[in-house]
């Protein structure tokens, strides 16, 4: 069932050759609550995360991004319930210990989930301070993790590996003796990333990992993260409300609104040639750093209450291009100019006139993030 070994990213990889999927989410639906009180936070979502690639998931707060990610690894908090869909994890572990083959995440029992979570799919949340145990040192937390998952390691191995992990995220080994509260927000988040990478996962879910940090720290961490991705070859689902972060980071971006994926495209296409009015709005929330200053509006209004969604297209009350049809019928996600991008918007169906703002030409194919130099992880031999 496993495909033959193929490097995830090589400089010669052509954009058309998609890497094989590692995490496949199909038709996922999540409700909070039951029966008449149920609120649908995620509706019929499809996402395919490919080996070694970064998928950006963007949208305003409350659009369902965290719910989608947590449901996929079965970490939903009650009263969240998965009501439909499929999540397949195609495991091809970097370490000898991990499970192999395709795992149906929604059907998996607890013991299977234990072999997957953290070892093969790890998570970094917005507030590392909450995720780290405040009463034990960083070193002891690494030690606990490695003791359970790398039983063959000696004390010395565990210490060395912990130091190596901190070094990867730009921290010195003496930080292993620190308690979380003794570290700055950026340091905590770095430690958390190191811990998420400790067991060489194939997938890492990053839920607003840098939202609480300063711009400079944020950029540094993102750069480091991308360097590590190139070096270690993991795939990442990067969740953020700040689309501008994803420009220089993601291979592909999906935009969610009111629980649904509304646009999906390669990062460069989404940036230079958005097709969805909502994406256009999200991209125009950033005052330019150059040129004359001019008044900007952002996106008027606020995201809808999921209990009383607008009819038709949920975005229509805030959409400057809304038509009569938008108030009546809900647009569905459909391919646009090839298999690589999809949009759910009536402007791109039938004979509607597409506004100039949503008709920019596709950028040249090569204009993505520079290709990585392939997983150089073999060089960092495992002990």
């Amino acid at each position: 069932m496993m495909a033959p070994e193929a490097p995830a990213r090589t400089p010669s990889a052509k954009p058309a050759q998609l890497a094989e999927p590692v995490l496949e989410i199909r038709g996922l639906c999540v409700d909070y609550g039951y029966g008449a009180d149920a609120v649908s936070a995620v509706v019929d979502c499809d996402l395919v995360l490919r080996r070694g690639e970064v998928m950006g998931l963007a949208g305003e707060s409350g659009s369902g991004k965290s719910t989608l990610a947590m449901a996929a690894i079965r970490l939903l908090r009650s009263p969240g319930v998965i009501t439909a869909g499929e999540v397949l994890f195609h495991s091809r572990p970097f370490s000898e210990e991990g499970p192999r083959g395709t795992i149906d995440m929604l059907a998996a029992n607890d013991s299977v989930l234990r072999t997957v979570r953290w070892s093969e799919i790890s998570v970094v949340l917005q507030s590392a301070l909450n995720a780290l145990n405040p009463v034990i040192t960083i070193g002891a937390q690494f030690d606990d993790l490695l003791r359970v998952h790398r039983p063959s390691f000696s004390n010395r191995d565990r210490w060395n590996r912990s130091a190596e992990l901190l070094d990867m995220v730009g921290m010195t080994a003496d930080r292993l003796r620190s308690y979380p509260h003794e570290l700055s927000g950026g340091m905590c988040q770095r430690a958390m990333i190191a811990m998420a990478l400790a067991l060489e996962p194939q997938v890492i879910l990053l839920d607003e990992p840098t939202t609480a940090l300063d711009v400079v720290t944020q950029r540094e961490i993102l750069e480091e993260l991308m360097g590590l991705r190139d070096q270690l070859g993991f795939a990442a689902l990067f969740i953020t409300h700040d689309l501008s972060l994803l420009v220089e980071l993601a291979d592909e971006i999906a935009v969610m609104y009111a629980g649904r994926v509304m646009e999906r495209a390669p990062a460069a296409s989404l940036f230079h040639a958005p097709r969805l009015p909502y994406t256009y709005g999200l991209l125009n929330c950033f005052p330019p750093m150059h040129g004359p200053r001019r008044p900007m509006e952002g996106i008027p209004g606020s995201p809808p209450d999921l209990r009383v969604l607008p009819t038709g297209c949920a975005f229509h009350p805030r959409c400057r291009w809304a038509m009569e049809r938008c108030r009546q019928e809900r647009p569905v996600l459909r391919p646009l100019g090839g298999p690589n991008r999809e949009v759910a918007c009536w402007l791109h169906a039938g004979d509607a006139t597409i506004p100039r703002e949503l008709a920019h030409p596709e950028p040249p194919a090569a204009a993505g993030r520079p290709a990585a130099t392939g997983p150089a992880r073999a060089a960092r031999a495992r002990r």
Binding site: E60, D167, G170, T172, D214, F271, F286, M289
Partner: protein
């Protein structure tokens, strides 16, 4: 270093503000008190119908400056002037009315157990601002674009979105007819999509009502958008001050240049690498000379020894950096202070024997400097 308001008359001015905090270091019996130099010699002024932005990384002292201007804390050095006159000690009620503060977390200034109406009526009553309370509440909610006002007046803070909550917090500040708004990261906790709405509201209050506004932020892009003047703080000191477009288009200080390169900018063809950019220093034992020298790609010998003076690089644009001091003066300073002062920072670039260390450790050391 000081920043004067171009064109306008300063309504509120902080002159040479300095603040130390006494903090505990270490654990248990080894614990000691030490002085943390949070703000040193910072001058900033806010003019009527102007927005002055204070920009810097977290920990640079922005909030401390705003709190001194609001007289929530008193400075250890320097003074606060209202309309050019020294202000009385403490925080007199009339001062608190005229100078209102808006916080990053709108929940901090709203009472969660009371409806919006109650939250707005309270300051009206405390300061005896009006007789017609209902009309005033309606008017306030209109001014911050919460329509229909009757509906919003009846809601509880938790029933509002983040942006709406911040608008209520602004309405609450406006209730007492202040002349100065000190807004401390008012949009940092909001979704990017609704930040512009709140910034536009502040711009309207400036333009239509002549409010003097201090906008504190770590986001230099939003400062460029909203502010007339930007001052940049680093490690408790002012490093650059200029009209906002001049500051962002022609940044004179290497730290401002770093901040600008860190800002997300989709237009940029290739993002510059920041991997070696380091972190702000300890404020308990700050670096000697220019506090930015351990991170500065242009650091010279003198930077490690003598703190740079503020110089005017163009009209209304000043920077505290040796690069902009003419070489005669620099040489004079260098001779006056012989090179006996060792740097307090072992990881300072150029002074550390980097080639003898493995690269990854060098990088890490620098990062934690």
């Amino acid at each position: 270093m000081s920043a004067t308001v171009a064109g306008g008359v300063a309504v509120l001015e902080g002159k040479n503000l300095t603040k130390y905090f006494s903090v505990k270091r270490g654990h248990g019996v080894l614990a000691r008190r030490a002085l943390l130099y949070a703000v040193q010699d910072v001058s900033v002024s806010i003019g009527a119908a102007r927005v002055t932005a204070v920009v810097g990384e977290s920990g640079s002292g922005k909030t401390t400056v705003a709190r001194m201007l609001a007289k929530i804390i008193s400075p250890d050095g320097g003074e606060v002037l209202l309309d050019g006159r020294p202000t009385p000690r403490g925080r007199p009620r009339e001062y608190a009315r005229q100078v209102q503060m808006i916080f990053q977390d709108p929940f901090a200034s709203l009472n969660p157990v009371h409806r919006v109406r109650h939250n707005l009526v309270r300051p009206l009553k405390i300061h005896h601002v009006t007789d017609d309370v209902d009309a005033t509440v309606t008017g306030l909610l209109r001014r911050v674009s919460l329509e229909p006002p009757e509906e919003f007046a009846a809601k509880f803070p938790h029933e509002l979105s983040g942006g709406q909550r911040q608008r209520v917090a602004i309405a609450r500040a406006l209730a007492v007819r202040p002349r100065v708004l000190l807004a401390d990261e008012p949009v940092s906790m909001l979704d990017v999509s609704i930040r512009l709405g709140v910034l536009n509201l502040l711009a309207d209050l400036r333009d239509a009502e002549g409010l003097a506004i201090l906008y504190v932020t770590h986001d230099i892009g939003s400062a460029r958008y909203l502010a007339d003047t930007i001052v940049v703080m680093y490690a408790g000191q002012l490093v650059e001050a200029a009209p906002s477009v001049s500051l962002t288009d022609e940044p004179a200080h290497p730290y401002t240049q770093l901040l600008l390169s860190a800002a997300p900018d989709p237009e940029r063809p290739q993002p510059p690498s920041l991997v070696r950019s380091g972190a702000p220093p300890s404020l308990i034992a700050p670096p000697s000379g220019c506090r930015f020298h351990p991170r500065c790609p242009h650091a010279m010998e003198i930077c490690r020894r003598v703190s740079p003076p503020s110089v005017e690089v163009s009209s209304g644009h000043s920077a505290a950096c040796w690069l902009h001091v003419d070489s005669d003066r620099r040489l004079l300073e260098e001779e006056r202070t012989p090179g006996s002062v060792a740097t307090t920072d072992p990881s300072a670039p150029q002074s550390a024997p980097e080639c003898s260390q493995p690269t990854s450790t060098t990088r890490t050391r620098r990062k934690e400097a």
